[in-house]
């Protein structure tokens, strides 16, 4: 990447972080999150619209199709900020649907989605902890996040080497909901009667899912980063045995180890985003290299976020095990995001398959 392009990329990332603060501040209170959780639809449609107005939902959609045309570096920065703020609005699933609609050239539903007027969810998954898209016409589609707030579902159905995308309205759909630990829900859809809005290739489908996996990794990075910041505050202020508990070496060493994991996660996520953005063209990086980098980042972020949030609870002691302490909200979010778009184990297997070890 040339120096100018690099500067432009850095500037876009800075701007996106600044704008995120306006809608979803990192250190903001968690009253909004608590008010929305365990209720339908689990997020605030007005905030979703604001996200659309900011250009976030279509961040990765080319400008000529009404998107912002920005890279994965910017998308990951945004996802990280929303993760740190625990924003329940389904940015990553929404952005996935936008990518697919853009690739299929389905301009009407794309416009409604990226403007934040409606939520469209890609109903691709047929098995728990999977990353492949079988595209079986009638098979139930699983684990649709915040499905209760969707206007329509985008159901990929296998057609030749690629997929026909069928848009099915949520109204009248056979949809069952199960609540999730973070206060949202997973929907199970029995597809019926969708209308084809276009087609995508298998490569486009996989690239879109990989971006969703990387976006989720970035969100996990934000979750762990903020949970760690809150824990450091607690270590500095909580007094036992006449001094701040953060002065005890055992806890200092634990905190230092967590910092290492967060730094590794950040490096891995940002390196994967840079590979996606290399050359300014998202299709430019060789597929195997991209896949390996994203798989590594998602595996690291999932493991590290669970470790950091678990330890955050432990370091908060009894108060950490209460629902009224905000730190628990971070662990619940990590529990849900860690296995969305593939678990750490699944992504390690993808990494091994995509990047065979080179003999020294």
């Amino acid at each position: 990447m040339s120096a100018t392009l690099q500067d432009e990329r850095d500037e876009a990332i800075r701007m996106i972080r600044d704008s995120a603060v306006g809608i979803a501040p990192r250190a903001g209170d968690r009253k909004r999150i608590r008010a929305l959780r365990f209720k339908s639809p689990g997020f605030d449609p007005a905030v979703w619209r604001q996200m659309g107005e900011q250009g976030w939902i279509g961040l990765r959609v080319p400008e000529e199709q009404g998107g912002a045309g920005l890279g994965m570096g910017a998308f990951c920065a945004l996802a990280e900020e929303l993760g740190a703020a625990l924003a329940p609005e389904p940015l990553v699933p929404g952005a996935l649907a936008a990518r697919l609609l853009a690739a299929a050239g389905a301009s009407a539903p794309l416009e409604a989605l990226v403007s934040g007027e409606a939520l469209v969810l890609a109903a691709w998954q047929e098995r728990a902890n999977s990353f492949e898209v079988p595209g079986t016409p009638d098979a139930p589609r699983l684990f649709l996040p915040m499905a209760d707030g969707a206007r329509s579902f985008l159901v990929p159905v296998r057609a030749g080497d690629g997929f026909s995308l069928r848009l099915q309205p949520a109204e009248g759909a056979d949809l069952a909901l199960e609540p999730t630990q973070d206060g949202g829900s997973y929907g199970t859809l029995r597809p019926a009667g969708g209308e084809e809005v276009g087609t995508v290739s298998a490569a486009q489908m996989e690239a879109a899912l990989e971006e969703a996996a990387l976006g989720t990794a970035a969100m996990l990075l934000g979750v762990m980063d903020q949970a760690f910041a809150m824990t450091l505050d607690y270590l500095r202020t909580r007094q036992q045995f006449g001094k701040p508990i953060g002065s005890f070496q055992a806890l200092q060493h634990r905190a230092a180890d967590l910092k290492v994991q967060i730094a590794l996660s950040r490096a891995s996520v940002e390196a994967a985003a840079a590979i996606c953005d290399r050359g300014g063209d998202r299709e430019d990086a060789p597929a195997a290299q991209r896949r390996a980098a994203i798989a590594r980042a998602k595996a690291r972020a999932a493991d590290a976020a669970l470790l950091v949030t678990r330890q955050a609870i432990q370091l908060h002691g009894g108060i950490g095990y209460t629902d009224e302490a905000d730190i628990g909200l971070y662990m619940r979010r990590a529990m849900v995001l860690a296995n969305q778009f593939g678990s750490a184990g699944l992504h390690r297997r993808r990494f091994a398959a995509a990047q065979p070890e080179v003999e020294a």
Partner: protein, 381 residues
């Protein structure tokens, strides 16, 4: 009355097994949360009818008079069957304390009511500012005529909403060294000035409470033992808690759930899973062996040393590692708020959350490691 100690261990084990298999209510097996009194009372009444409310108390006081070895067998068989723990602080904590340190009047007044299920006790030790550093507790009791006047706050009081009595550690001498100014006081929770507030925990269950004391007048005959000796009395009874918390029960149950989950996710036969599962199995078997060595100490009629900290430390760590693997292999199911479709006992997220506080309560793992380093390894500092 049956002398259970006259039975062989095998005979007694068979007797307990028959009892729980024929009489324990099926719908109460392996509950996901601690049961409230009204949820578990039907089981209490069955146990009461059998005369088995207080296994460790002497027979002349209405207990079963079991020796340590038989008590362990009883616990093992209950755990094997998934028998729920009732609000049992009266039986397990207060009873033994009154039997050892109480007056004749206190025993006559309180013990029969515990056996009858008329008094439900809770334990008021921890405070917001006194968790790991329990001896820094500040709830104070000031003598005023025939009464102590109590002011302060307790926290993490298990099932206080169910209890009508609370036994508390209170500060009665502010000038003394912190462990030496603490007394053991019994407080009727219906006394004016006592307020209970439930705390919702991460499992979204109201198991813990805060208890507030605002000028609560407590008759001075409710003080147990000598004034300012409460700390050593309470500490003398902690050994049993630590072996109880070190029991392999939670890990054994979680491991069986891990296996079911792995089968359902289709990964049970994968070599990678088998390797990790087998390691956990070996950890559990080794833990049982370690647990047995401590049980043997109790069987010999000896008391447990500080090294019992190892049991709780390892059990809680193992329980957490098993549930962490459940989360890893459970896919999106591991994010669900409720048990998985079609199996009430399969709830990876619930079990993961349930395992979190085991390294915090009953002396956190950090405190247990400190005890091991100082009292067992005799390291300096």
């Amino acid at each position: 009355m049956t002398d259970y100690n006259a039975m062989t261990d095998d005979e007694f084990r068979a007797e307990v097994r028959r009892f729980v298999e024929s009489e324990y209510p099926t719908h109460l097996r392996n509950p996901p949360n601690r049961l409230h009194w009204d949820e578990g009372e039907e089981w209490f009444r069955i146990v009461q009818k059998k005369g088995w409310v207080a296994p460790g108390w002497p027979r002349e006081l209405g207990g079963m008079g079991l020796d340590a070895s038989k008590q362990i067998i009883l616990i093992e068989e209950y755990e094997r069957h998934g028998v729920a723990r009732l609000p049992d602080h009266g039986v397990i904590m207060l009873g033994p304390l009154l039997i050892r340190f109480g007056t004749e009047e206190q025993r006559a007044r309180f013990l029969p009511r515990i056996l009858a299920g008329e008094d439900i006790w809770c334990q008021g030790y921890s405070e917001p500012g006194a968790g790991s550093d329990l001896a820094s507790l500040r709830t104070e009791a000031v003598l005023d005529g025939d009464h102590y006047v109590v002011n302060g706050q307790k926290i993490w009081t298990t099932l206080a909403t169910d209890a009508n009595w609370i036994f508390c550690l209170v500060r009665t001498d502010k000038a003394a060294k912190k462990q030496e100014g603490i007394s053991f006081l019994l407080i009727d929770m219906n006394t004016p000035g006592v307020t209970v507030r439930p705390i919702i925990n991460l499992a979204l269950h109201d198991e813990f409470c805060e208890v507030f004391f605002d000028n609560v007048r407590v008759p001075k005959e409710n003080l147990v033992g000598e004034p300012n000796k409460g700390w050593s009395m309470a500490k003398a009874l902690l050994g049993f808690e630590r072996i109880f918390l070190g029991s392999p029960r939670q890990s054994a149950y979680a491991l069986s759930r891990l296996k079911t989950l792995a089968e359902r996710m289709g990964v049970f036969d994968e070599p990678e899973f088998q390797d990790r599962y087998t390691k956990l199995r070996c950890d559990l078997e080794d833990h049982k062996a370690l647990y047995e060595t401590f049980v043997a100490v109790l069987r010999r009629g000896e008391s447990l040393g500080a090294d019992v900290s190892m049991l709780k430390l390892h059990q809680s760590d193992l329980f957490q590692r098993i549930t962490e693997l459940m989360l890893e292999i459970g896919g999106e199911n591991a994010g669900l708020l409720k048990p998985m479709e079609g199996n009430r006992d399969l709830h990876p997220a619930g079990q993961f959350i349930e395992a979190r506080p085991t390294t915090i309560y009953g002396g956190s793992s950090e405190i247990q490691r400190g005890i091991l380093a100082k009292a067992v390894l005799e390291l300096p500092g």
